[in-house]
């Protein structure tokens, strides 16, 4: 192993103290020994996904964050409101590693053939603690990257690709034939757009700005609706009528958007209604909230009949429901289309220490479209 101290390495940690303070820092941890069926990955690249930020900064008010420590071992602290502390009870005073996914090189392997087969290979991994210099984990939580793919190419190959594929799978499994996506200009949204074009699935993209609409159109999106346009609701109804989309995946969460999508679906369906039903159309309309970019309450006017559902959607429960064979099929597709359909773009590459600089946090914690950080745990 190439670490100067072969016995310990750096790992990013997030700690919520009983006192109501968040502390994010770099810890020195022993480099683990891989078990029989495990591999040890030297992690070279790990993305900061919105799903990581929740664990990383918890409910802290990062506008009040304070930096201390040294440039190599920075410490960031920030206050957490009293209201939020209640739901954090199970993580109080537990220093937690962070990072859903990453990629790197297998530098040691357990005795099992599956583990040995990966030795020396570049792999992507999922399973937490990716913001670490080294990570031991079961061989089957790794995805062997195709020849020529770098760790940076494969760093985001689980969460976004499988989420995007999972949305299309969920659409099919639940009997819908077209779908809606919000925050559609995101890395994930662009991936989903490419998948839908490749698979011939009609996709209604909802964005918040004209330049995001232009971006999606430039990569071939047929239906794009901009919430900032005064004609947003009629535009959306038109797109829903044209596509027949009756399921939506919403990254926004708060505000009225989810309910507006259901209302516009109902209006689109009722365009062809022949009979009045006081209960609205019999067509089931579904919105899954998979993110919470808007943290304000969700509000909806019930103007979409009785055949509707709203709910949370998460990747891991979906993968469990889909089953091993389906997951293998999806992973194989990700590997084979890594540099095309599933390519990710990063606005910054940072070391773990750089990622804890307040100016950098202020940028990537906005979760703004186009601002995505790639951590490089071994960057000098």
């Amino acid at each position: 192993m190439s670490s100067p101290d072969a016995r310990t390495a750096l790992q990013l940690r997030s700690l919520v103290k009983k006192s109501g303070e968040l502390e994010v820092s770099l810890a020195s941890v022993p480099i683990p020994e891989p078990g029989a069926n495990e591999v040890l990955v030297r992690i070279e690249a790990a993305p900061v996904n919105p799903s990581d930020l929740g664990l990383l900064f918890s409910a802290a008010d990062m506008t009040k964050a304070v930096a201390s420590g040294t440039a190599e071992r920075p410490v960031v602290t920030a206050p957490i409101g009293e209201g939020a502390m209640k739901s954090l009870a199970p993580r109080l005073d537990v220093s937690m590693p962070v990072g859903n996914e990453g990629a790197g090189v297998v530098v040691a392997a357990g005795s099992s053939p599956a583990a040995q087969a990966l030795l020396g290979k570049t792999v992507a991994m999922i399973g937490g603690a990716a913001y670490s210099q080294y990570r031991a984990l079961p061989a089957d939580q790794c995805l062997l990257l195709p020849d020529g793919a770098t760790p940076a190419d494969g760093a985001s190959c689980f969460v976004n690709p499988l989420t995007a594929l999972g949305m299309v799978e969920t659409m099919r499994r639940e009997g819908h034939s077209a779908l809606v996506h919000t925050a559609a200009a995101s890395n994930l949204g662009q991936m989903l757009n490419r998948i839908c074009i490749a698979d011939g699935v009609k996709l209604v993209n909802i964005v918040r700005k004209p330049e995001q609409a232009a971006l999606l159109r430039s990569i071939g999106a047929s239906w794009v609706c901009d919430t900032s346009a005064p004609t947003f609701l009629p535009d959306l109804t038109e797109a829903l009528a044209a596509t027949g989309a009756t399921i939506a995946f919403d990254a926004i969460g708060g505000g009225r958007l989810a309910g507006q999508i259901l209302s516009c679906m109902e209006a689109a369906i009722n365009r062809s209604a022949k009979e009045y039903s006081r209960y609205g159309s019999a067509t089931h309309k579904q919105v899954y909230l998979y993110g919470g970019l808007d943290t304000t309450p969700t509000e909806f006017v019930r103007s979409f009949g009785m055949a509707w559902g709203m709910g949370g959607w998460l990747l891991f429960p979906f993968l469990q429901k889909a089953g091993k064979d389906k997951v293998s099929e999806l992973k194989a597709r990700v590997a084979s289309e890594l540099k095309t359909t599933f390519a990710s773009h990063y606005s910054q590459r940072l070391s773990m220490a750089e990622a804890l600089r307040l100016d950098n946090i202020a940028v990537y914690n906005k979760r703004a479209t186009g601002e995505k950080v790639l951590l490089e745990p071994h960057r000098g």
Copy 2:
């Protein structure tokens, strides 16, 4: 037949005019001839359920209702707001019969054995147009009432009983073991309470007033939470922890209650959590909105993790999903427990003409607990 004019009879009608006016009146309609598999029911009693009021008065502002016509043939008109007219397009200028269910005596029958078997019998019926003096309908939409049961006993024997049974069935089918009900002191709520006691199912009753809580306790309810109590949220969490209820049926619809139920479910589940999960508990929590007593927007703070769902719930789609055998089983139970578990109580018995008096409308259109009207279409 005993009608003075054997050829026509009265039927209550609701009409929404393109001009934006609701008109409710009594029409003279031909008494139908039953088809081969049909029976002709002389309807003696029909309840006014919340689900009937939506069709009867539509979105009209009944505080601005105006009465005209005669005492025998009253006409009620009321204005409908412009915003609401859009969703009413399919019923514009169509005079619609009203009344989901009722009961009466079979006075004529088609040639089929099933129809003939009901001749002279007292039956309950479902299928609309129950606010009529006579109604022809397929024999299998009737339920033969047990000996000694009057039409008033059986008038409410479909909607509320099958809805209450449907909630318990839905709970079981979706893998939950206890349930929550709001507006729990209603006729439906009291029925559900009796069913749950009989079946050993734990039920959390949510009511809006101390006297409703007392009523439910007096009929054996073990868990009753009153939204008007300052301790409502901790009380609810306590009841949810004690019962393990993870599914709720909400008749209120608007405001924050549905979201509060999900939040309290999550808090109850997390009492026994051993590990922190940033996505909340993995236990699926579900609230079905089956009514809209509060017509304001639904609002919720997403403080219950990601394993949750909200959605509409309606009796008829449930019955379709449950299948013929299950529905027969449920109907048989209703018939055999008609005067016990499934007994309904009415605050007023009105003729159809009396039901169109503005003072009566003002009372029953409030949908207040304890205010339930039984229409008697042949009442003089």
